[in-house]
Symmetry: C2
């Protein structure tokens, strides 16, 4: 049972090659560019861990891991276009560097390449793996569309927000765990528990991300604290404050959302606290985190094999960066 | 052995349903929109014909046909964004009607849905079908990138142009024929011949398209004659004229490319004829067309079964619309 760091190094050995032909370089160099600027490779490592929980790592796990990572990068390329994002991991986004048309196409060909890796899966496993992968890719698209829809709305229901972050970011984590479990030969119930484990972990992670963006230690968080507030982003903190605010607080909230004053962030943080949004977000995060740990506990495998996954959960959820 | 019209009607029965969930409607209604504005469904009918050449139509042929048609529509959505096209089949393009972000995503989810249909293929055929499909999807992306690259170049070599149109439009026709042949149980050689048949037919069709855009009967062609000339599009006619023009004609050509005079089209047509581009294009088209018919002839199947495919070739290549 290897650690995250150990498996990450092993995956990188399989991943740090060129995944595309050389020509046309106007298409494939951009595609390769986004892969070269790094990334934590969390999802493929989840595939390897999901596999190793039940059995030795099988060759299929690498192909599925690569497919999942390529798919993830495909979504990053297209999301960055949709969100007009200038930077990714501190480097220019693909559409900024190479133009939008090539960025659309580089994303497309990366999705196609993900499927090429999937098509190499052993025949006895290919059907369930494709079924789960295809279901997940559609859900991720749905999540991105909901996220864009919500930007245009004045109010978003909390349940709708949770469903959106589940689709946009968490189902792929859940699927990665389950894909690994399938490769490891897990039965249906264990597979389902692994899916829920990854999905709940993903939701907890996203809620924590919302929290840290407002209340994180600026030295450790690595991003500008208050960035979401400045963008009026509908986070768990803002949505809770909408619900919990009294009439006077609601007026203040509306004013703050329309303001560009230098004290917007500090005033909003104050309001979040007054309305208990910080406590609420932490508690909700803990709820999903604990649910995830319970899912993992219920997997019918001896406890000693679960250590790496427990450590991964801890690493993801007890971070300040 | 059914005709194109017969198979087209049968395919439509399988295709004219909703291919997407209902929610989020902001994503799936746009995706469904592009499918609802029509299309000749040539590629899926090629799958059915390729199948029927060798055996009765198998259920797999419908799933593969639907996947091919969805993939084709996915490329149309994204190409229209890249080309800034306002209209498709006389209707607003998806990005004009719903915005670029949703159009990118609707394309993505259509590609994902194509793979969902592919994942339903019988286990004994799924591997070769995925291999061919994935190879083809990457080639189509390469073709679109080359097309965009060529727009920025002053000169394009004829061979490079032929390679570009092969990748952008013809390999999918070739693949459709071969996918059908695989489902029909054809051997490797027959499969390859079917691929070449479709690919050569596709190249001939594209060359004819270039020709008709300049020299077609405006009443029958259905598009504005001379549209490519007005856009300075690098067609087979323009590329040949570049090569064949003498010094004086080259000067005239350069002048015409920079001009926006009302007589630009008529002057260019005159120059094309003087340089023999019309004859050259027709001959090259015939060459690919005859090669395609030869490929079909060589398929080791009794001649009477080939009628529908011969008629399809004739229909595609002896059109004026």
């Amino acid at each position: 049972m290897k650690t995250f760091a150990g498996l990450s190094a092993i995956f990188e050995e399989h991943f740090s090659c060129r995944h595309f032909p050389t020509t046309p370089s106007t298409l494939y160099d951009p595609a390769q560019y986004i892969l070269s600027i790094g990334g934590k490779r969390i999802r493929p490592v989840c595939v390897l861990m999901g596999n190793e929980l039940f059995d030795e790592i099988q060759p299929d796990a690498y192909n599925v891991g690569i497919a999942v990572e390529l798919f993830h990068n495909f979504t990053l390329i297209h999301d960055d276009i949709m969100d007009n994002a200038p930077l990714r991991r501190g480097k220019p986004t693909l559409h900024v560097k190479y133009g939008t048309a090539t960025a659309i196409l580089a994303g497309d060909v990366m999705f196609a390449q993900a499927h090429e890796y999937l098509s190499k899966i052993s025949i006895e496993r290919i059907k369930p793996i494709l079924a789960l992968f295809n279901k997940t890719t559609k859900e991720v698209c749905e999540g991105q569309q909901l996220d864009m829809d919500f930007e245009k709305k004045d109010q978003v229901h909390l349940d709708d927000y949770l469903q959106m972050i589940a689709l946009k970011t968490s189902v792929l984590l859940g699927a990665s765990m389950q894909l690994g479990a399938i490769i490891g030969g897990a039965g249906k119930r264990n597979q389902q528990l692994m899916y829920e484990f990854g999905k709940n972990l993903g939701i907890a992670f996203q809620l924590q991300d919302d929290y840290l963006d407002a209340f994180g230690n600026p030295d450790k968080f690595g991003k500008q604290v208050g960035g979401d507030i400045l963008l009026n982003k509908k986070t768990i903190l803002l949505l809770h404050t909408f619900n919990a605010a009294n009439a006077q607080q609601k007026t203040e909230l509306t004013g703050l959302l329309q303001s560009n004053n230098p004290d917007k962030v500090s005033k909003m943080l104050q309001l979040f606290k007054l309305c208990g949004a910080d406590v609420f977000a932490r508690q909700l995060k803990d709820q999903y985190y604990n649910e995830a740990l319970k899912n993992l506990e219920e997997v019918a495998v001896t406890g000693s094999r679960k250590k790496a996954l427990q450590q991964l959960a801890e690493m993801l959820l007890n971070r300040e960066n």
